[in-house]
């Protein structure tokens, strides 16, 4: 996007009109505009249509489980397909926990990558490295899973943990015996998988920061790092939060790779070293072999829960972005 001419005189203070407001200010509307807008609207309407259908389908199929277990479904930990008793607490906790671990690892790394690619890397290195990082996103889930089993887990168990144990084992999140398949392994795999998404979007955001901002920072005598930290990152804050949310969305719904390394145990544990389970993994694992109708219904219900979690996460994210973006006039357009 380097060929876009920079607007030299960006208004520094006061709310900048959004694209839409500027559009609206235009009085002339041609018939073509009406057609254009209508066509786009119809396409856009397809998304809610699909979503509502999926939600209905989840709802209808989950209903037997809802009427049998009610609210207790969310608070119980027993998952017994034989007796038809289902509680989703371990799945919900595991889903959120592993995604959190993934973000804790991936966000700093991804941001550092984005900064590297836009600010510090020599020009000849930028395109190839950016390509390589983006290619990480292209690796199919199941291949990450295989790699996780054969490379990552032995690495964590035989090399990371024996060294880290002395420093970390007093922490409740690192308690217990470490067999390998665990929330930690799941989180690490997820972090690798969401990193390219966060890095790529953050990079686009940082690239969109006008050179004038950068130049202003440097002209005031800041070092390049200080310019990044005090000018460029705050400028792109909203966009970066958007990138993190994109990553979180990916992590929450990720299936195959996680199930191959997380240990798949229906149990709530604070320790990262213990096996856990995620909603998407449970659905993938049990859906095709579920024989009883209640089992199937319970799987649909956890699917619906994941659906709701996604909605809540997005709502929270939107409030956050809104808060962050409200104060600053710029950057909000990236979201």
């Amino acid at each position: 996007m380097t060929d876009i001419p920079a607007t030299v005189l960006e208004p520094e203070a006061g709310p900048q009109p959004t694209a839409e407001e500027r559009w609206r200010a235009l009085k002339t509307v041609s018939p073509g505009d009406v057609v254009y807008r209508t066509v786009l609207t119809v396409f856009a309407l397809l998304l809610p249509l699909v979503l509502v259908t999926i939600a209905l389908e989840l709802g209808v199929n989950a209903w037997p489980a809802v009427s049998k277990f009610g609210f207790g479904f969310l608070t119980h930990s027993t998952w017994d397909p034989v007796r038809g008793e289902f509680g989703a607490l371990p799945l919900i906790v595991g889903t959120l926990y592993s995604s959190l671990v993934a973000l804790v690892i991936a966000v700093p790394l991804a941001l550092a990558c984005a900064i590297f690619l836009t600010e510090f890397a020599p020009r000849w290195l930028r395109a190839p490295v950016a390509t390589l990082i983006e290619l990480l996103a292209a690796v199919p889930s199941v291949i990450y899973g295989l790699w996780g089993i054969f490379v990552l887990i032995p690495l964590l168990r035989d090399h990371f943990w024996p060294v880290a144990r002395h420093a970390l084992s007093w922490l409740p999140i690192f308690s217990g015996v470490f067999y390998g398949p665990s929330v930690l392994a799941g989180g690490v795999i997820l972090s690798i998988m969401v990193l390219p998404y966060i890095a790529a979007v953050s990079r686009e955001v940082l690239l969109a920061v006008p050179p004038s901002q950068r130049e202003a920072g440097l002209a005031l005598g800041a070092t390049r790092w200080e310019t990044v930290w005090t000018v460029i990152l705050p400028y792109g804050r909203a966009g970066i939060i958007g990138a993190v949310i994109l990553g979180l969305g990916r992590a929450l719904g990720e299936t195959m790779a996680v199930t191959m390394v997380i240990g798949n145990r229906h149990e709530v544990s604070a320790s990262l070293l213990q096996p856990g389970y995620t909603i998407a993994a449970a659905i993938a694992n049990e859906f095709s072999e579920a024989v009883s109708d209640m089992h199937l219904s319970a799987l649909f219900l956890v699917g619906a829960v994941l659906f709701l979690i996604t909605i809540v996460v997005n709502a929270v994210a939107r409030v956050l972005v809104w808060r962050v973006a409200r104060g600053s006039a710029v950057g909000s357009t990236a979201i």
């Binding site: 500027r22 235009l26 396409f43 900064i115 990480l136 292209a138 199919p140 719904g253 195959m256 990236a334």
Partner: protein, 280 residues
């Protein structure tokens, strides 16, 4: 206030940290590719690309049916999903300021979080069951549902990055809004949108779960859109969990080809983007 040297030092240190981060980020890619080449390259030969599955124990089997199947199913997903995704994205960027735009954006993010197997079930309920049989078309539609929200959000972001000054310039030249939007804004954001398409295609090309209950898979070479069709990730998955060494070898080879396919797609598109930039 810190001294100048200290500030310089912090700057250098942080530069080093970003170098390290980039190296660390690329490391898994290298490790994964290395493993795939090590385990799979030996089994990628002429037969692999020209032959379909043969019974276990006989030599000379290949993945031709699965490779062609994946190309067709992903092609269908694009034919269905790309127009919807790009149009939705442009809509969000150009007209999505109000409550309706907010809703659509929200919907796209939620759709993005729906587990892919649930989308497979959705396609099964609405396409496979009414039609009475599994089909590549149903698989393509399932993948399209995954592709659209990703593409819509990326397109939106890319279109929004286009400076208003460009819009204003076009309008000042007497372009109507729709032409401005299509020819100036969308074109300027084109490179970004193509990248979005690639990310989305790369994501769906490797999906197994949504195809399980839609395209189903096929042992035989088939190009019938209304019949069951093989796909690379399905075949890789089935062979990977199977008990035979021969299948494991083929699974690794299939995984390697899948990655190379995605990689090649990505590189071709980059070339397109670059050419476009020089053009403009």
């Amino acid at each position: 206030m810190r001294g100048r040297t200290a500030r310089r030092l912090v700057g250098s240190a942080m530069t080093g940290v970003t170098y390290g981060a980039a190296a660390l980020a690329i490391l898994p890619l290298a490790a994964i590719l290395g493993m795939l080449i090590l385990k799979g390259a030996g089994s990628v030969d002429w037969n692999f690309f020209t032959k379909s599955a043969v019974p276990v124990g006989e030599p000379g089997g290949g993945f031709a049916h699965a490779i062609v199947g994946t190309l067709i199913i992903v092609g269908l997903a694009c034919a269905v999903g790309v127009p919807i995704g790009v149009a939705t994205g442009i809509f969000l960027a150009e007209f999505g300021g109000g409550r309706f735009g907010f809703t659509i954006r929200f919907v796209a993010d939620v759709l993005n979080g729906v587990p892919s197997i649930v989308i497979g079930i959705f396609a099964w309920t609405w396409l496979v069951k009414p039609m009475g049989h599994f089909s590549a078309l149903a698989g393509g539609c399932a993948l399209a549902v995954i592709l659209v929200p990703i593409l819509a959000r990326t397109t939106e972001e890319m279109v929004r990055l286009v400076p208003n000054s460009l819009r204003e310039a076009a309008l000042a030249l007497g372009y109507p809004r729709w032409r401005t939007s299509l020819q100036v804004v969308a074109r300027t954001a084109g490179a970004g949108i193509v990248t979005g398409c690639l990310v989305a295609v790369a994501r769906v090309a490797g999906e197994t779960a949504p195809l399980l209950f839609t395209a189903l898979g096929n042992e035989f070479f088939s190009t019938r859109l209304l019949g069951p069709m093989a796909a690379l990730p399905l075949q890789v998955y089935v062979y990977a969990v199977g008990p035979y060494d021969e299948w494991h070898r083929q699974a690794w080879a299939g995984a390697l080809v899948l990655i190379v396919l995605v990689l090649a797609l990505s590189l071709v598109a980059r070339a397109v983007v670059r050419a476009k930039r020089q053009h403009a």
